[in-house]
């Protein structure tokens, strides 16, 4: 692995969170749209979402959306101002802090579901 610094990890996480959000959106559209084929089909799909992997995934998708949004703002600041480039590292730590806090908040709010399911 190339030993890049904050910028490299910011870029990698931005890509990964982007792919995760796209995947989530596609699954979301498909599972909501499945109601066209009747309630039984719809419920069959939605019951699979009780699988622990999906429950934990909720926390990660929240963190992913928050990271992608705030890092997107960081990129906009960098693209439009010289100061943004000079302080990109500090801004990234800020983004990571916000991501961590919202991830923890999501975990706290979703705790009953994480433990007990529906």
């Amino acid at each position: 692995m190339y030993k890049g610094r904050e910028g490299q990890w910011a870029f990698l996480l931005h890509r990964l969170s982007g792919i995760a959000i796209l995947a989530y959106l596609l699954i979301h559209v498909f599972s909501i749209g499945s109601f066209m084929f009747g309630e039984r089909f719809y419920m069959a799909i939605h019951e699979t979402y009780d699988w622990p992997g999906f429950r934990v995934g909720l926390v990660f998708i929240t963190a992913g959306v928050v990271y992608h949004a705030f890092n997107g703002l960081r990129i906009i600041v960098m693209d439009f101002t010289g100061a943004g480039v000079a302080y990109q590292r500090q801004m990234w730590y800020g983004v990571m802090l916000i991501t961590l806090i919202s991830g923890l908040y999501a975990a706290w709010t979703l705790l009953p579901r994480l433990i007990g399911g529906y």
């Binding site: 692995m1 904050e6 910028g7 960098m78």
Partner: protein, 256 residues
């Protein structure tokens, strides 16, 4: 007076005696196209001083341990840009990197060829695609108006505008540290954009629009995803990402 002379004359010799030798291992990614199907690691034990350059260490290996080791080097003083290598996971010039900055006594220095370009042998890569990108940005002064009798005058501020991008030595440390370039070789890369910056922000040059159009193509400046590896890697301390962002803005405002 005599005392100072005495001191200065003995000081270097005393320092040399006091300098301990570091016992280090050098792990080099070797590839011989005539024998190997895949690159493999080879390790050499070397004694080096803390103040030696990594290039001295590689020379030691080539001269006294394995003559077949292949790598580029020319001026050995960080100006020609021949010996860019991936040293301990980061792109650096072997002649500008001191042993003490990358290894302790008993430690290991890993050396690989720079990434994203075809390895010809050992640490030697095919630089042609890199220089093709360089040529693509028209790296020469263009001004069709008749030359004045003396010089084409620039103010100090105007010269300052292109001072940093003029420092590039085309070593490829930046371009081959770029994650986008590793995946997409058609991206012109940071080095070519820095070179373009040097002419775009040269007030005497008249081909600014042509160069901005080249930068606006899908192999140009928009491929940059601001991973900052280029800025970290540059042995000339050019703030590459900042310059690329300046070119991005120039392209955008030109179209506005």
């Amino acid at each position: 007076m005599t005392q100072t002379q005495h001191e200065t004359s003995t000081a270097p010799a005393a320092a040399q005696q006091a300098l301990p030798m570091l016992h280090i291992k050098v792990k080099i990614l070797r590839f011989d196209p005539e024998k190997d199907r895949k690159a493999h690691w080879e390790t050499y034990a070397i004694d080096a001083q803390a103040g030696d350059r990594v290039l001295d260490v590689i020379n030691e290996v080539k001269w006294y341990q394995d003559h077949s080791l292949t790598f580029r080097r020319s001026c050995m003083h960080g100006i020609c840009g021949s010996d860019a290598m991936l040293i301990n996971g980061r792109n650096r010039l072997a002649c500008k990197t001191l042993v003490r900055d990358v290894a302790k006594d008993g430690g290991t220095i890993t050396i690989e060829p720079i990434r994203g370009l075809k390895v010809e042998k050992d640490l030697l890569v095919d630089m042609e695609p890199f220089f093709d990108s360089y040529k693509a940005i028209m790296p020469y002064f263009i001004n069709e108006s008749p030359a004045p009798a003396a010089e084409r005058i620039q103010s100090e501020e105007e010269a300052e505008r292109m001072a940093q991008s003029s420092n590039c030595i085309l070593c490829a440390c930046c371009t081959t540290s770029c994650p986008i370039f590793w995946v997409n070789g058609s991206y012109l890369g940071p080095a070519a954009i820095v070179q373009a910056h040097r002419f775009i922000f040269d007030t005497r040059d008249e081909a600014t629009e042509q160069r901005l159009n080249i930068m606006n193509q899908n192999t140009g400046v928009w491929r940059c995803r601001t991973a900052y590896n280029c800025t970290e890697a540059c042995p000339r301390d050019i703030p590459i990402t900042q310059l690329i962002e300046e070119v991005k803005r120039a392209v955008m405002y030109q179209q506005a």
